[in-house]
Symmetry: C2
Subunit: 158 residues, 2 copies
């Protein structure tokens, strides 16, 4: 088992525009299962598919099992079995020895930009770049599994 | 995508006892998801784990996606996320160029023996050995996913 310890933040869009970015990767993903105890995700990233099982969040930590699968299988699984797909472009931005993953969502979640940082321990310290704003690690609405069910465009009062 | 075309039969226990069998394989499996449209199964067979997604049965046919995973992951996934596990010993019996998979269930499904044959087409002909009895391909109670939810020991009027 891998353990994923991750903190998630909103992004200041004005400052984010000024960041010099490497080329992003287009991601398409959907869920075969989303329940409070576990999610099963299928993702297509470039020429590879991924099947990923994640456990329940406990703090910023959760169990994660990820397996590469043929991209053709991943496309078929998404088309046949997944709930609405999420699409986004992911940028990997190195900051002081850590890599931030910044997702610019498209489709039903257009307008949303989220930044995630993976940590080795919940209490690990790290640099917050100035284009990062409010933390939303514990806000379930921002889970990708939830965004596939209730996309950003349908949020009230955002 | 692989397509699985499979017919399933009950076994005549008296005649089955007389069959000369190769060594069987102990299987432990459980389900991360069982719904009418798809099942997600985790199986441990000898030193390998398998993660398998199957679509809905249409006749004797269904879509199947199977991936080997580390046996340690499979054990953890079963312990953490699966519904009640099924245990069985599987025997592979060659008959006239086809291989029958005969599962002797244990645990909550003890007493049940099922024989399956995989075909290349729904209408393919094959030899029925004399230790095979009633066909149960379309009887959902005998789906392994269902046996994990309502085991054989709890069946009424069997």
């Amino acid at each position: 088992m891998a353990v994923e310890i991750e903190r998630k933040f909103l992004v200041n869009k004005v400052k984010w525009q000024e960041v010099i970015k490497p080329e992003g990767s287009y991601l398409r993903q959907g869920y075969l299962l989303t329940d409070p105890e576990k999610t099963i995700r299928v993702r297509v990233k470039k020429e590879t598919g991924y099947l990923t099982i994640k456990g329940k969040n406990e703090g910023a930590t959760r169990a994660e099992y990820e397996y590469p699968i043929p991209v053709k299988d991943a496309e078929e699984l998404l088309d046949k079995f997944a709930s609405a797909c999420i699409t986004k472009v992911r940028y990997e931005i190195p900051v002081d020895g850590k890599v931030w993953e910044v997702d610019e969502f498209s489709g039903e979640n257009a307008g949303l930009i989220l930044a995630e940082i993976e940590l080795n321990a919940e209490e690990e310290s790290f640099t917050l770049p100035d284009w990062v704003s409010e933390e939303v690690t514990h806000d379930k609405r921002y889970y990708n599994s939830q965004l596939s069910l209730l996309p950003y465009k349908d949020w009230q009062g955002k």
